[in-house]
């Protein structure tokens, strides 16, 4: 029997998800033994026409990482959807929008203005901005459309499963691949990770005080967390209580609070809002000034509560983008 084929593809991503595969080092030989890698732009040179030549169902599974913001990305993922039996949103960006999704906090015009005009390292006296249609030396050039906002993969195509994490830890990837090979698939739309929040497996959970109160937020940039203590109890905002476990507590073991890359637990409608409500319920301030000081001590609340999930959240995008659309 021929080995099943898998495809890897990337959209708006940093390449970290590819790194998960590369990090396997010689173990990748085991993977190659089990499956054939049909597409992997980071490592294998293939053109779109090669993929277009596939028959639907030729490739068993496509692992797509990265968020979607360009029309070209949309075309590619739609193509893969057509040709592959299963599509797995691989990593936080495909799952929820991820770090690139924070661009939804601003709008396309601002991004272009910063990138091509305002940035101190940019010298652009003619004010040239990339255009979708350009004629250079008599040739018509076409660039993909830069959408007004970033979308998670499931807003563009139908997604079968989600592998969360930034990047997903390989044991989860192995679990998913194993399940696919053995045909023991969970219900469609499942996030392949435990359903409980990170506190469940966090060793520091035992150090939580009976009555936790938060009077100020510290930053890891300016102070070092206690290596044993629960981060929240120590005054650092930790996304752990609102984030799925299964990551292997990689950040916690590095003495960094959870940043929330695994996304919300199945019952949480909106991860940022749920944690915000939880934190607000434990904040303590005697006066209006103290309350303001407490709120102000959390630098960049949007980027903290929605670091990985802004496009997939109830907020989706900033109101500016919303207005620009209409």
């Amino acid at each position: 029997m021929a080995k099943p084929k898998v495809a890897f593809y990337w959209c708006a991503s940093c390449g970290g998800c590819e790194e998960t595969i590369v990090d396997l080092a010689e173990d990748i030989l085991g993977v190659v033994e089990a499956v054939d890698i049909a597409l992997w732009p980071v490592a294998i040179d293939m053109k779109r026409k090669d993929v277009e030549a596939w028959e639907p169902g030729d490739v068993a599974v496509a692992f797509i990482n990265g968020a979607v913001r360009l029309s070209e990305q949309k075309e590619w993922v739609e193509l893969l959807r057509e040709k592959c039996s299963l599509v797995i949103a691989f990593g936080s960006c495909a799952h929820m929008g991820g770090i690139p999704g924070l661009a939804n906090a601003t709008n396309r015009e601002e991004i272009f203005a910063n990138k091509y005009h305002r940035s101190p390292t940019v010298a652009n006296p003619d004010g040239i901005v990339p255009q979708e249609q350009t004629n250079v030396d008599g040739y018509d050039l076409e660039l993909p459309t830069f959408w007004k906002d970033v979308k998670p993969l499931n807003e563009v195509i139908d997604v079968d499963y989600y592998l969360p994490g930034c990047p997903p830890p390989f044991d989860l990837v192995a679990t998913a691949v194993g399940a696919i090979l053995e045909g023991k698939l969970p219900p469609k739309g499942s996030v392949i990770a435990p359903e409980k929040a990170l506190c469940d497996t966090c060793e520091r959970n035992d150090t939580k005080p009976d009555e936790m109160t938060i009077t100020e937020f510290k930053r890891t940039a300016t102070s070092t967390p206690d290596p044993e203590k629960c981060f929240l109890a120590d005054g650092f905002l930790c996304m752990g209580p609102a984030t799925r476990s299964g990551c292997g507590e990689r950040c916690i073991n590095g003495n960094m609070p959870c940043r929330g890359c695994f996304g919300p637990t199945p019952d949480a409608i909106d991860p940022g809002l749920k944690l915000l409500a939880a934190i607000a319920s434990r904040g303590e301030a005697d006066s209006e000034e103290d309350a303001k000081a407490l709120a102000d001590s959390l630098v960049d609340p949007l980027g903290t509560y929605y670091r990985f999930g802004l496009p997939a959240s109830m907020l989706k995008r900033s109101a500016d983008t919303e207005r620009a659309q209409t």
Binding site: E195, A197, L198, C199, M212, T265, L275
Partner: protein, 590 residues
Amino acid sequence: MISLTIDGQVVEVEDGSTVLQAARKLEIQIPTLCTHKALLPYGACRVCLVEIEGSRGSWLETSCTFPAQEGLVVNTTSDRVLRTRKIVLELMLARCPEVEVVKELAAEMGLEDTRFPKKGEDCILCGLCVRVCGEKMNAGAVHFVNRGTGKAVEPPYDRHSAVCMACGACEVVCPTGCVDLSKITTHQPRPIPSEFDEGLSSRGSIYVPFAQAVPNTPVIDKDTCIRLLNGDCGACQAFCEADAIDYDQEDTIEEVDVGAVIVATGFKLFDSKLINRYGYGKFDNVLSAMEFERISHASGPTLGKVIMKDGRSPQAVAILHCIGSRDENYHEHCSRVCCMYSLKFAHLVKEKTDAEVYNLYIDMRAFGKGYEEFYKRVLGEGVHFIRGKAADVTDVSETPEEKGKLIVVAEDTLLGVTRRLPVDMVILSGALTPSPDSADVGRVFSLGCSQGGFFLERHPKLAPVDSMSDGIFLAGACQGPKDIPDSVAQGAAAAAGALSLIDKGKVVIEPITAEIIEDRCAGCQLCIANCPYAAIEYDKEKNISVVTEELCKGCGTCVAGCPSGAAHQKNFEDEQIFSEIEGILTGSEV
């Protein structure tokens, strides 16, 4: 057991008893000045002489040291005994002619005077102090020095002793009151202030908290008891006939399962030291209301006599209302009871002394049954009422009449003048304030606090006895300042409320409660601190939080605050809310 005959009566005593103990068993009175139940027999005072009858005639022995023997025949009232005892007392009276206990005993024996030259000593050399210090306190800070006529009790080399713990046992046992602790010890003697008497009297290390204490049994103060501190003393055990004193007893915490709780933790009187212009704590005769309450009480430190610190009867007394209450700087509330107890104080001072009494009030709040009538009665007793809050209490006199007095300065708002009232005693009618630990108690019982810090009732008019939590009731001043009749009424209502719950045998709960999905809870425990009803507990083994349904009021705080969405509100799910929102948003199109 040993059997012996005393004054013709046969008595059985344990081996090792003394003749004195045998006589006391027969309730035969033998006077003695140097015996003490907790100390070894010593035979110093010789007053307890008895006649022992033997086969070859009789002889005299001190009954406190002579061992009881089988078949012994003792006579305690023979002529020879009485004659000799009289001589002993006459000699003692010559040594200590002014000592009360000796004079009394001599008078009992028919002695009016002594034939020997008087010396004017105050120590009868009974050795009780020496023995209690050596035997019981294991200190030996005082001892006999010299012999014969030069014999005396002193610390070593007649210098202040550093081994003396200043426990005061020698003072307590001395029958003549001649021990002056300050001449013995290098330490500062610190009397233990009686909590119940507001520190106006002192108490022992073993004491009954107050006359009507429930249970009415003594307690040992483990911070001052020498036995518990050093393992010495143990004198009280020798006195307890019921053998009820157990020094090995430990504090225990007892857990009781109950169906209802009545919180009646009371109030704390405002600390008048916080307003230093009234001189409380600075002037001897500026008293708090509670201190005056003890002074005026028949069982109080002065046995009900209204006297000043120096023992004189006051010529004028000022009673200052609203100290710390109705005052934006301290407590805004009216303490409700002060007007009436201040009137009672005025009445008591009038009744017990000839003093002039001044009540300085903001306005008189004599509400309710019999109160206005009492106010009228006190007005008729010649008490001076001055409408104006006292501004100052000072001892700086401006006129000869004010010299040596406390001067209360106040504006008389009815006359429109500033008055200076020279008085001997000032009573501060302080505010009723919440107990200092009310925040902790509130946390234990999930009680909220109203403005001012008193516990919050469920409804000021319709549920004044209930708290926000079912089965927890409030009674008395912990819920707000109130007088005795109101406290009794609220207490009875709370008891009835608790009884009706217990009597029913079952509790009806609302269907809308919170539930934590076991498979989804990560055990972050944030909900536990959020629950205002203490209805969530952490299951350490399963590492999850669990809602106790009987306690849950369905307020939804835990549901809103659950970061992982594991907490759900039954019949009130997010989906329902979203459907409602959708319905509202699409309503216009339908």
